[in-house]
Symmetry: C2
Subunit: 453 residues, 2 copies
């Protein structure tokens, strides 16, 4: 007899799980509760929607509730799950439009409540403001773009210079919106240099230079307060001054939405996200988790990590869905691969940074080289910095690449980390070569050769 699956949160992990579960079990009853107005969307595309490269926010949506309905998957929008009763196998749900509250039964539960934009206890950040935006949901993106189009803000501060911070810097600086110029008075206020600590400081410098080249002011300081007037932020105060603003983008990182899990006795791991095993099972029988609410096993350290990403969410959701449908799928783990576009640069990383490896007590070595992305005589060739991080014995711990053509080049190192390769293993690799794509010695091989010396 088929079971009833309740999914809490319908973005990446949740909808991957239901898609897989439905393919494997045509009879299972599947119900999805999503507190927002959209399901199954690519949140990673939001900066490009705000930029205008993506004209319509509906383009971000992979599948609509109607499409899921055709596969006999019931999707309820504006429905927030407010409680889980693991023993009674019931969830409490609030219809956010009618304010009705009801309970419903589950046999299996998929916890995919995602993450939220971090809002530290800084004065002025305790209430919403009409010109302060985060970049998490479609609604967030729509609100921000509408504000830009209607109000034409001239002075903007982005707080935070992680992936979303730098993507938003590009989006606001070079909009593809008709009749709208880029914001000239654009400042990033950030506790760490751009992309640090995800990248090492020496690699971050190339990102800082790229931002400076596009006339974006970088102010590496903590925010003291958001000065408010009439429901808006009018200035961002830092230790050594104050930036008057028309608009603020908050990009201080993400945290897992674990409140519901904690209240239900679902265990969190050392990172503060929901702990899962390699089958995406939580500590509660029949309750699975995945995506930005959950941890993932980091294969380099052998420990759980919290690196919320759409790719991991989709993989974890798929594995959870297969197991929910009675299968036996495993998620092997992650190696911390990420990439972000910063104007004309790619900044990519995998494994551990040198700083991360040092903190963890590895006897760490690193090699950094500057190479070219293509043959030196090709006009499309651009600079590419490669940093390899490895143990004294040669075992690879990670890599960072910043420059032209970093994005997919990092993947070779990502793959190598799955099998515990050494720097020496990289050296002779038969990597693709033609003048438009690589020099005869690919940047990665150059780095491995230098490291070996």
């Amino acid at each position: 007899m088929s079971k009833r699956l309740v999914v809490v949160g319908g973005v990446a992990a949740g909808m991957s799980a239901v898609s897989k579960a439905r393919r494997l079990d045509p009879d299972m009853e599947i119900v999805v509760y999503e507190k927002g107005a959209y399901v199954s969307y690519g949140a990673c595309g939001l900066p490009y929607y705000v930029q205008g490269i993506i004209p319509d926010h509906n383009q971000l949506i992979a599948r609509t509730p109607e499409q899921f309905a055709k596969r006999n998957i019931q999707v309820f929008m504006h429905h927030e799950v407010t409680g889980i009763d693991p023993q009674g196998r019931r969830v409490q749900v609030r219809n956010l439009q009618s304010d009705d509250v009801f309970e419903t039964h589950f046999d299996k539960l998929m916890l995919s409540t995602g993450g939220y934009a971090l809002r530290p206890p800084i004065p002025g950040l305790d209430a919403p403001a009409g010109n302060l935006f985060v970049v998490r949901t479609v609604e967030d993106g729509v609100a921000m773009r509408r504000f830009i189009e209607q109000e034409g803000p001239e002075r903007v501060v982005i707080v935070g210079a992680g992936y979303i911070g730098v993507e938003m810097a590009e989006a606001l600086s070079e909009p593809h919106l008709q009749g709208r110029e880029g914001i000239r008075d654009l400042t990033m206020v950030t506790l760490f240099p751009p992309l640090v600590p995800t990248f090492d400081a020496d690699m971050s410098e190339h990102v800082s230079a790229e931002l400076a080249r596009h006339e974006i002011a970088l102010h590496v300081k903590g925010v003291k307060a958001f000065e408010r007037r009439d429901g808006r932020v009018v200035a961002v105060q830092v230790e050594d001054g104050s930036f008057p603003v028309d608009m603020v983008v908050l990009a201080m990182g993400a945290r897992p939405n674990t409140a519901l899990a904690q209240a239900a006795g679902i265990a969190l791991g050392p990172t503060g996200a929901v702990a899962v095993d390699d089958h995406q099972r939580t500590n509660v029988e029949g309750i699975y988790a995945g995506g930005d609410v959950a941890e993932a096993l980091h294969l380099v350290t052998g420990e759980p990590a919290y690196i919320p990403l759409g790719t991991t969410a989709n993989k974890q959701g798929r594995v959870a869905g297969e197991n929910i449908a009675g299968g036996d799928a495993t998620f092997r783990g992650i190696v911390g691969t990420t990439v972000v576009k910063v104007f004309d640069l790619d900044a990519a990383r995998t494994g551990l940074t040198e700083a991360e490896a040092s903190e963890r007590g590895y006897d760490v070595r690193s090699t950094t080289i500057k190479a070219l992305s293509a043959a030196h005589y090709m006009p499309s060739s651009g600079p590419l910095y490669v940093k390899l991080v490895y143990e004294a014995g040669g075992r690879l711990l990670g890599a960072q690449m910043v420059g032209t053509g970093a994005a997919k080049r990092i993947d070779v190192v990502a793959a190598a980390l799955y099998d515990g390769w050494t720097v020496d293993d990289l050296r002779g690799l038969d990597l693709s070569y033609a003048p438009p794509y690589a020099p005869v010695w690919d940047a990665l091989l150059v780095a491995a050769n230098v490291a070996q010396k």
Copy 2:
């Protein structure tokens, strides 16, 4: 006491060998004989020089004889080694400008005579023609571009549709030469569909479509004769007709320059190229070989292969140079990775094609998918076809990718082939993701997931 190294042929493998040998042994006497007018150049860039993307042929040259001289490496241009005496440790050399012949001593010899453009015994191909060009040396490229600029050929036939054939098709169709339009009457006459047999026929179809989209006529037929008049080819005759021409590009493949080796008793391998061990040693003590004259071990088949490429030449040269200088370097082998740009497509491959694997008796399976190079909502996203080739048990044998963004994506599979991965090993890989670079499921992961079903 340091030795005397004589290098026969100074392009990729030869000059990599001398550079490495000189770094390791400052005292060794090093003499290079090159029959052409250039050393140390990137022959792979020749199509882009003819196209005009590279304005000056000198840009193709990595280092000049003067630069080598500063490192105490004597380079003699226009000097052809005409005989090797392995017992007497001497070579016979002809100065092609003065016609003087002399002999000189060696302790170690690096045989890097490269390859030559195949000229089958077709009537009319037995003598040079003023309007028939190959694409091997800088001189070849300079002659071809001068001919195009001076004579403005209107009807051109390219014979052969391998890597150089398709690169030349793009170069001639979309020249970057001032005041010069692309050749409108451009025909490729080819025994096999484009890039076949290096690619499977089903993947070749996308290349054919791309050529057709750029109005290049494809005529899949063998050439019967080159009709000549006054020292020029005036028509290319095929079984079912004849193409009048102003210019012909011969791109029928390359063969190793083994005449000198054979005369000296240096053993060839099963491919017809010079046999070398993992130290780049030939069967003759003290004589090393590498580059387009030599074989390389193919790690998927475990057998020698002849896949002449600049990357392999540089690696083999470097290993030979280290060993010549008294080191103990090994060249692990190749996996047959190549990539070529065909207008807006990349065509990349690694390992074995399905046809190659079948011929060799593998119990072969394949999976082909169509995906996108970037997130579906990004305007930069383009179609990308991925074909995985594997054994019935799942062991990867190779991959082909044709479309947008194939070039560096193939490298993950290339790396995987070094460690005998299965299709399943690819499935969960933590590959780089951001909307401008990949969909949330990278094309490679999609292919691996489909293959696994």
